[in-house]
Every structure is written in structure tokens, then in C-alpha cells.
Amino acid sequence: MTGAQRTDRHHNQPPLDVNRIRQDFPILSRLVHGKKLVFLDSGASAQKPRAVIDAIKNCYENEYANIHRGVYYLSQVATEAFEEARRKVQRFLNAAESREIIFVRGGTEAINLVAQTYGRKFIKDGDEVVISAMEHHANIVPWQMLREQTGLVLKVVPINDDGEFMLEEYEKLLSPRTKLVAVTHVSNALGTITPVREIIRLAHAKGALVLLDGCQAVPHTPIDVQELDCDFYAFSAHKLYGPSGIGILYGKAQILEAMPPYQGGGDMIVSVTFEHTEYNGIPHKFEAGTPHISGAVGLGAAIDYVTAIGLDRIAAHEDRVLHYATERVKEIKGLRLIGTAKEKAGILSFTLPNVHPHDIGTILDKQGIAVRVGHHCAQPVMDRFDVPATARASLAVYNTNEEIDALIAGLHKVREIFG
């Protein structure tokens, strides 16, 4: 089962016309090694719909100039497009204000920004930061770097054999010295959806802030940062059908205002003299230099795209395909699923006895099937399950049960070759 509650939550969603949706993605019609492409690696980066490609093209062909700088027409048009993208993100996350939306390079940079600004200023020697055992390296290493700088204590919430976040253990780890809890909303290696409401409630009760790594959650579930009451939310556009090189840090305005700037440069200042520089307000304080203008526009188009379909419907569709896949893989002898949480989204990680995931990846690739093999930037998860690596199929709005059939046929071939 891929999570009874979750399936219930979506059960009344009308099915998607996936074949129509597939036509929105030009790359899906190409062949790989002479075979139909079966793309099952959207967890690493999703393919792009025509609407996003066209928006980026239009930006460069019709609406491009540097932003926030020119008095001339094109600069105003570009600035407006950029700021409109910010408002789209605001509505998408249901943030209270658009100045709570900071454009960064991606989820990785968003987390580093919090560590290096909030962390350097407010986290002191002996203070505690809590993460979980299923974090992506992007939500581990920035805290270790901050630990070097401040002497903080990093605490790790364990996960159980199904790959679920252990709430009781988490509660025990929280203390009056806990300053920040930084956890993933959905695990990229396991697919686990973490109990973010309880995580946030318990952290706030101790006076700690919460940062959610939403990189894997945003493409699969509607987010309401006010309802969640999280303090920071981070994600990358490229996993949400948008371009790479752009992502978002959401932060509550009053917290962002108290934080020092991230990088110094143009746009983040009000006035500069050699004696004194006055910083700009949020969000500009955190956006030094010329940003990824077409990237923001592309992200805005991606948000329009998923919103038009409806994230609830997308989630319901992906749940059905994941459920189908979870059932079908049972026929592959010896296949071990890594990550069997009750609440999962979009990810099927597995190993086969006596076949290294790398060999699985090569054999599937020859049949046009793209899966990711390796440690998925989550080596502690691999250690927890005592495997060097896994093969991972990850789903998006355009995947179908027929593609799962192709995956199963491919896995039978793996068995055939390896005996």
C-alpha cells in the first residue's frame, strides 16, 4: 500500500487525461537507444512542459532586460515579469506576503542561506540543530559547516525500518537549547512523507524554528505555509517542471527581517558609501546581483501549469501509479523495497539480490528506461538500510501504468541476464 490515508485524501479526484498531458512535454516523444523513452527519474529533475519552454523563450525574445535598474520600457516589463513570478510563488505556497519569497539558485542554496545568515547570527556554541536520518546531503552538510563555525550540536532523528520519521524519538531530542529543526518534507531516497504538522508543533512548543526541505514535496502535494506555520520552506524549480538554476526560500517576514544579508552586491543595498552601506529590505536584501530572470519567469509558468491541472489531481494520479508499481514489483523475485512508509509520495527505491544497482541502471537504460541508481545524495539512508546504493524510480504527472509495465519487463531482463 502506498498509504491508506493519502489515497483516501485523494480518492475523489477525477482521473487525469495522461495522454493529453504527455503531449505537453516535447521530450517524451523522443527515442532512447531506439526505444520509447520511459522517464522515471523526475525526482532528480522533472521534464519541462511546452508552456515553460515557451515562457523562457518569450522572455528572451520579447521581454528581456536587466531588472530593478532601468527607467526604460523593457526593463520595466522584465521587472514586472520577475515580480509577477514572485507573486505566483507567494500564492502557490499561500505565503502572507510576496516579500517573504526569496529567489535563490535552488533548494541547496536556500538551506545554505538560512544556515549562513540565521544560523551565524542566532545559533551559538552549544545550541542544537535537529535534522533527520533521511536528509539529502543538502540538508546535512550546511549544518556541519555551521557547526564548524559556531560549535552547535547536531542531533539526528532516527527512522524506523519502513523509513518513517520516529516522532517519539524526535520529541526526546528536543530541548530548551534546540534553536532550529531542519527536516525534509518528503524524502528523496525513500519517498516518505514526514509528519510535518507534529514536527512543527513540537518544535514551536520548545521555541525552536522549523525549516522544511520541500524539494521533493512541492511537485506532489499542495503547500500552505501559513497553515503549516513553518518558519522556512525551501524548494527547487527544476523538480517542479521549471528550469534549473532557480529555487525559492520562503521565510516568515519578521524572521527574515532580523537576519543579516547573505551576499553583498548590487540590488541588496539602499545606499553605499565607503564608510557605510544601508541594506535594502526583504526580499532584496537576500538577492544580491542580477538574478536568474528567465528562470523566475519559467518557474512562474511551471506553477501556472501545475495549478491549472491541480496538485491534488496530480498527487492522486501519482499515488495510483505508485500503488500499481508497488504491487507489480512483488513479482520480481527477491526485490527489496527500501522505504515502505505508510505515507509516501512518488518514489520507489529498491535493490535486487546479487545485482548491483549500477548494473540494473545500465540494463534498463538500454531499453529506454531512465532510473536513478546510487546513493541519491543520502548516504546516511544507505547506511541505515545497509545497502551501498539503490535503484530508484520516481514519478511525475506524465508517468503511466504502461511505463511501470515497461519497468517490470526491464527488471525481468535484469534477472534473465544475472540469473
Partner: protein
């Protein structure tokens, strides 16, 4: 499918399932560790070098079929060879997998074994799996002990 059989030949599958010289010898005077962080292949190579010859060689570790088979074949080939001969084999193997065109003929009959891995040249991301054991061998033969060699 035929392409895949070219890559996963019986010899390779056999060596990966039953690697030769897969053990930790009680004595060795050269050692090196190899690691391919991309896919998690790891091996430790143990050498007993006497009078400029590889008197004994063995390895331990885990990895994909290509890296384990390559390590296994390598230990069979270099055992009893001089350091110079082992290096020549590595150069030939490297050419075989990464040269602009595959070398037309093996320099000697003892090189033939390596040709079962020639199919790897069509899989650029897998070349590193096949060459990891050889890079590790070079590191072990190096006078200066190096503890970990990476191929990424």
C-alpha cells in the same frame, strides 16, 4: 539485448559472481583502497611484491558486476608479472576502453583475457567501474603509500 550480452558476457558474470583471489591475505606489503563515489564501488587491494614481481595479489570489496569482474580478471593476470608488465597491461586496457579506436591486436596472448571487457567502451559512464581496480593497482604499486584512490 545483444548489446547487453556484449557487455555482460558469461565470463564477466562468472567473475562477478565468483571473483577469483577474493580474500584478505595474511601478509601483504602493498595495499590500496579504491572508491567510486558515484556508484559506491569499493575495493581494497593487497599485493605481495618481491624482487619487482607481483608474487601475490588479492582483493576485497563490493561493487557492480563490471568492477568486481574487472578486479577479479586483473588479479589473475598480474599475478607473477613484473611491475613493468603489469603497467603495460593497464596501458593496453586503458586504450581498449577509452582510446579513440580500440587497439587492433593485443600485444601478447596473456592480454587476450582483457578483451571480454572491451564492450564497456560503449558505456562511457561504466568505464570508471572497469578501470577502478587498475587505478587502485597503480596506487598500490606506487612507492609512496596512498590510502584511497577515487575514480570520479
Amino acid at each position: 539485448m545483444d548489446d547487453l550480452r556484449e557487455l555482460y558476457q558469461e565470463v564477466i558474470l562468472d567473475h562477478s559472481k565468483r571473483p577469483r583471489n577474493f580474500r584478505r591475505p595474511p601478509t601483504s606489503n602493498r595495499q590500496a583502497k579504491g572508491h567510486n563515489p558515484l556508484c559506491g564501488d569499493r575495493l581494497t587491494l593487497y599485493l605481495q611484491v618481491e624482487d619487482g614481481r607481483v608474487a601475490d595479489v588479492a582483493f576485497e570489496g563490493s561493487g557492480c558486476a563490471i568492477s568486481v569482474a574487472s578486479a577479479s580478471l586483473m588479479t589473475e593476470m598480474v599475478k607473477g608479472k613484473t611491475i613493468g608488465e603489469a603497467e603495460t597491461m593497464f596501458h593496453y586496457f586503458h586504450e581498449l576502453l577509452t582510446g579513440k579506436s580500440a587497439p587492433s591486436a593485443a600485444p601478447g596472448p596473456e592480454f587476450e583475457k582483457l578483451s571480454v571487457l572491451a564492450g564497456v567502451r560503449d558505456y562511457p559512464v561504466r568505464v570508471k567501474c572497469a578501470t577502478l581496480p587498475w587505478h587502485t593497482l597503480t596506487a598500490a604499486l606506487d612507492a609512496k603509500p596512498r590510502d584511497e584512490i577515487r575514480t570520479e
